[in-house]
């Protein structure tokens, strides 16, 4: 089964094509890194996959079910999420626990299991001690961490991450990639991540999609180089 199936996708802003002939699949257990130069429409591709934008040609199919036959839960960290409104009235804990709402808790109280997942997520990014701080008082790097903690708290079947490690130091990045690899290999999660650190991530990911400028195109239009299988990472 495929969590994401992109078939011959093209997308244009007004009359300017920015993406053409994109096709790939993300399966449960895949850790796919998506790279490309600045302005290569990587975020646009993610937004097409999520349904936030509509492709001008081709199809995007996001599975409704996970590999166990339950409803697929998607966790998304957008590029701008860490620049969220500093005045938003929320503590770190409130924001991270909102990640659990998607897990059937919109109208139910969070239980012991939810609270344990929230605690582990905050600890995994080193933010447990700051859980009662107002999110507007955090630095850019700390905001990035709680965005990641929020998505881990959701415990989604499919992670869609848009440059989630911006502003993080090398060690934190390494820990984060290890955690993602653990999720994909041990828990069959699907991961699609936009990144610039492809040299670092290639040790963790198992597929690499690169968006490259289309030759002979009058516009800044990007297409896929290929979907390369990387050597299987060790667990």
């Amino acid at each position: 089964m495929h969590y994401i199936e992109v078939e011959d996708l093209s997308f244009q802003y007004e009359n300017e094509p920015v993406l053409e002939n994109i096709s790939f699949k993300v399966e449960p257990g895949d850790f796919v890194m998506l790279t490309g130069e600045n302005g290569a429409a990587k975020t646009t591709l993610l937004r097409n996959i999520l349904g936030l934008l509509k492709p001008s040609k081709g199809n995007v199919h996001l599975s409704a079910k996970n590999y166990l036959g339950e409803q697929l839960v998607v966790g998304y960290v957008s590029q701008q999420i860490a620049s969220f409104n500093a005045g938003f009235p929320s503590t770190v804990l409130e924001l991270v626990q909102s990640g659990r709402y998607q897990r059937g808790k919109w109208f139910k109280k969070l239980d012991k299991h939810d609270k344990e997942q929230i605690r582990r997520s905050l600890e995994s990014v080193g933010m447990w001690d700051m859980r009662f701080k107002k999110i507007g008082e955090l630095s850019g790097g700390q905001k990035q961490r709680i965005s990641i903690a929020r998505v881990f708290a959701t415990d989604p079947d499919l992670f869609i991450l848009d440059e989630p490690t911006t502003g993080m130091d090398v060690n934190s990045r390494k820990e984060f990639y290890q955690l993602l690899r653990h999720n994909s290999m041990e828990h069959n999660k699907g991961i699609l991540m936009v990144t610039h650190d492809h040299e670092e991530i290639r040790h963790y990911a198992n597929k690499h999609i690169e968006l490259v400028r289309k030759e002979g195109s009058p516009w800044r239009c990007f297409s896929m180089d290929s979907c390369k299988e990387l050597s299987k990472p060790h667990s």
């Binding site: 009235p89 929320s90 503590t91 909102s98």
Partner: protein
């Protein structure tokens, strides 16, 4: 003053409005739609003028008109996604223009009654208005308790809300409608010119005082109760218009909390 029936009803209405205003106010502020309350109150005038022209209770025509405009606001907000405040500017001017035209068509009596809707009259509240407010308060508080979590996500980030599977457009439209109905009911009491101040100010003040989402609502309610009731007492004692007295009291609280926060670096 507490022995006068009209003052008792005024206090009851103020208390009920204090429970509603911070809830709506916070979500309006977080969606960057603070001026929406102003737009809907201007449009409400058109609803009132229409009711007077065709001889129907203006509250009902008002509610009908604000529901239509609340939907239109969301449609325009989607069209002008990057500059969503355009929707507010367009509908505010259109609402006022329609109100003035309808007032021009009807006779002078309508113009006179319009004054009450423009400036409000908290001391002429009747039993029916109190019951309507009580009903509205119960609905809004219940909806807040039920939909607090989806609304938290929606106001935090629309993309995250969409990805989480929330019907963001429907939620926004329903919220606009609820705000519109509230304004239509509150407007004859506090006046079209000040209704948005009473909705927005308590939440704006408490936003600076609490770290948490629920804290903002609770502190907002306390601030609204203090501001509304003391504004009402001031109005009675000094003989000033109630809506304006309440707004100035809330402004005073805003100034005091801002200065205290600055001085003590809270």
């Amino acid at each position: 003053m507490f022995f006068y029936g009209f003052m008792q009803r005024a206090f009851q209405a103020s208390f009920l409005i204090s429970l509603i205003a911070p809830i709506l106010g916070l979500f309006l502020i977080l969606q960057r739609q603070s001026l929406m309350a102003d737009t809907l109150s201007h449009v409400s005038l058109a609803g009132v003028a229409l009711g007077m022209l065709i001889g129907i209770n203006p509250t009902w025509t008002n509610i009908l008109v604000v529901i239509v405009v609340a939907v239109l606001l969301e449609v325009l907000r989607q069209i002008y996604h990057t500059y969503s405040e355009i929707s507010i500017a367009i509908l505010m001017s259109a609402g006022m223009a329609v109100a003035l035209v309808l007032m021009g068509i009807s006779d002078g009596g309508a113009t006179l009654s319009m004054t009450q809707f423009l400036f409000g009259s908290i001391v002429t509240i009747n039993e029916q208005q109190i019951w309507m407010l009580l009903f509205l308060m119960i609905i809004i508080v219940a909806l807040y308790i039920i939909f607090r979590k989806p609304m938290y996500i929606l106001t935090f980030d629309e993309d995250t809300a969409f990805t989480a599977g929330l019907p963001i457009r429907t939620m926004s439209i329903l919220f606009n409608i609820l705000t519109g109905i509230t304004i239509a009911i509150i407007m004859p009491i506090v006046g079209a010119l000040l209704v948005s101040a009473i909705i927005i100010l308590p939440a704006a003040i408490s936003l600076r005082l609490s770290k948490s989402f629920n804290g903002v609502i609770l502190i907002g309610i306390v601030i609204a109760i203090i501001g509304m009731l003391s504004g009402l007492v001031t109005s009675y004692e000094l003989g000033t218009p109630p809506g304006a007295s309440i707004t100035l009291t809330l402004m005073l609280i805003f100034s005091i909390t801002t200065v205290v926060k600055r001085v003590f670096r809270l």
